[in-house]
Symmetry: C2
Subunit: 221 residues, 2 copies
DNA sequence: AATCTATTTTTGTTGAACAATATGGCTCTA
DNA sequence: TAGAGCCATATTGTTCAACAAAAATAGATT
């Protein structure tokens, strides 16, 4: 087993990683403008290096680059949320149908569900959300497709960004049991039923997120 | 109708566009190393600007960035081709199943098929290949999902890159009729059958490409 | 209040410089 | 001859200072 040495080897790479983290951690808020002068000084790096990191993150969808105006933390709009859930339904449900009985990702699903159940009793919603993401990431891994995995993790990062503007409380709570139910169907090798349930799950989640979103935020661009 | 002003407004953006074009046109060959000093001089731009363009294209998958070694035109390996076709089957077939009768993308499919049939008689394989790509792009657009469209066009760019190393002759020829048959099923609103046929089509295409590939190229990394 | 102009700020781009890392060739040794 | 270590070289990574170009701001004019 090789150590997955994914650590960035260049300064612009590690800078991108650091900014990515700050965005997902909520330190940089959606819509916020990131000034080259200010940020490069506060990170003690040159403007050029920072700009390279910006290009990396823009292509990932976490930053939005407006020529001659600056880079901004992406602000998921209502249409973006709809689009994200549409992509998720397409990818996740199909991945689940392509699954086979003893796929290694199944244990990842189980781990995620059990961990979520545990953390739910502690009311640790932040971590429950992470488990939920891991669960769905595991579903996608069933398709055994590297490119799909990669695009999906980007989509989930974008969605996580949308959640930043929302109250974290019960957003994930009702879904832990749903995940458990889906896992049960998978373990019973009823892949088609599992996919159908997942589809309903995602439709419901979308409606819930959208209504919460429109209550807390005005309108997306 | 607004003019889709997609033209890059910055030099690093237009540089990326220009390099992208040269890669897809075969001017830059897979595996080739792009020297910062040489390229920046031949394009009459500064190294820093070129590096920003490199970061853009690396994230698109057209270039591979190896820290401290340089950037190389991506070289699709056998495993990459397998992965690409797996992603295509997942996305395209599902998009086709999600289609509805009067979707605007259907006319795009028809245009692509008719144009391909015309160009086929002229033995213009280069353009036939482009039509084939447009046909499959149109299929994906049936899903009405911007993020899926975007990732798919990246995947197709990567595949086109793989085709650069291959003789262009009959790679697309037998598929024009297949596309026409799929279109017919779609127009007859038999979406599930169309998806099934597309799946077979892609499995066959994968086998064909792989055998051609292994005949012309040794082994991927 | 709205428009235009001038000022200021910020981004875009450049060139030179140096540090850090890989490359290639060299010698030395076994 | 094959391989290990070492040096010179080339390339990438990063910084800095400067200026051009575009956008944001403020002020003056109508």
């Amino acid at each position: 087993m090789k150590t997955d040495n994914n650590a960035p080897k260049t300064l612009n790479g590690s800078t991108a990683e650091s900014i990515r983290e700050k965005i997902l951690q909520g330190e940089f808020l959606p819509g916020q403008r990131l000034s080259e002068a200010t940020l490069s000084e506060s990170l003690s790096i040159s403007r050029n290096t920072l700009r390279e990191a910006f290009r990396l993150l823009s292509q990932e969808g976490l930053l939005k680059h407006e020529p001659n105006r600056g880079v901004f933390v992406a602000t998921p709009s209502v249409t973006a949320i709809i689009d994200i859930y549409r992509a998720r339904r397409l990818i996740e449900c199909q991945a689940l149908q392509l699954a086979y009985p003893h796929h290694p990702a199944k244990s990842l699903m189980r781990d995620a569900v059990e961990k979520a159940l545990r953390l739910q009793t502690e009311r640790n919603w932040q971590e429950v959300g992470t488990c939920n993401m891991e669960f769905h990431m595991a579903i996608v891994q069933m398709a055994d497709c590297e490119r799909i995995n990669q695009m999906f993790s980007r989509i989930m990062a974008e969605q996580r960004l949308a959640f930043c503007s929302l109250p974290p409380e019960q957003l994930h709570a009702p879904y832990v049991e749903q995940n458990a139910a889906i896992l049960e169907l998978v373990e019973a090798k009823k892949f088609t039923e599992a996919a159908a349930m997942l589809n309903d799950y995602l439709l419901l989640a979308e409606r819930s997120v959208l209504s919460t979103y429109s209550r807390y935020v005005g309108e997306g661009s």
